[in-house]
């Protein structure tokens, strides 16, 4: 039950943060490339790795790791909007932009997640 409430609570926060940050970036840059979601997803990938590493090192209770990680950061990042944006890029003729949005998100995303785990696990 703790985990369920934590997922719901942090989920609200993650989703709203995603909406605010991606909308601000989109409005300020007015670019055809979906930079807002790009930033959200890559920052979220690093953060999730960091939380995973930190939670393991500090011995977080399971419900908290689930709440922050699965709930908060899981709701913060998005696969669906990323996918929808990618199809729009294809439709609008931005073929290079499409490849950058797909491969250029995933490769750094995986690397950032791994870096995040290292950073979270480390003793500073």
């Amino acid at each position: 039950m703790n985990a369920v409430l934590a997922v719901l609570g942090f989920g609200i926060v993650g989703a709203v943060l995603r909406y605010l940050l991606s909308t601000v970036v989109t409005m300020r840059t007015e670019w055809w490339f979906p930079l807002g979601i790009f930033i959200v997803n890559l920052s979220g990938a690093f953060l999730l790795g960091f939380v995973a590493g930190l939670a393991a090192r500090q011995g977080w209770p399971g419900w908290l790791t689930t709440g922050v990680g699965t709930g908060g950061i899981g709701a913060y990042t998005t696969y669906s909007t990323w996918a929808n944006d990618s199809v729009n890029l294809w439709r609008d003729g931005h073929r290079v932009g499409l490849v950058v949005n797909l491969v250029g998100s995933v490769a750094p995303g995986v690397a950032l997640a791994a870096l995040g785990v290292m950073a979270g696990s480390a003793r500073w």
Binding site: G11, G14, R18, A52, I73, T77, S80, T81, N84
Partner: protein, 139 residues
Amino acid sequence: MAERLAKTLFKPAVLTAVGAGGAVGALARYGMEVALPASSGAFPVATLVVNVIGAVVLGFLSAIPARRLSLSSQVRALVGVGFCGGLTTFSTMSLETANLWGVAASTAVAYIAVSVLGAPLAIVLGRLIGARLFPESPG
């Protein structure tokens, strides 16, 4: 400029819809993770399933003409930005791939390849279904 931006962003109805949809989506994804847990080295089925489902739903939603949805922006905020955004996850996909890399590299490659290829395909599938169910009337 800042005030105009703030007024556009901080609409209580939209924020509520995004937050509520996102929370429910995240909970659904958590439920799937509990139902289909992936042990170390195993293919992360739960994440792939919710990601693809969420993309199909969002594709479907994006194909519905705006005028066909009453309270269109509210529905899109609740279901699209909120629920689909909360149900799906890029971060978990990334971390799972990173973790798999050292344990079962071929599984990691298969997982990320299917996820990346599946993303636009799921959207297109959703859009096809949406267009079929809500054809644009002529004129």
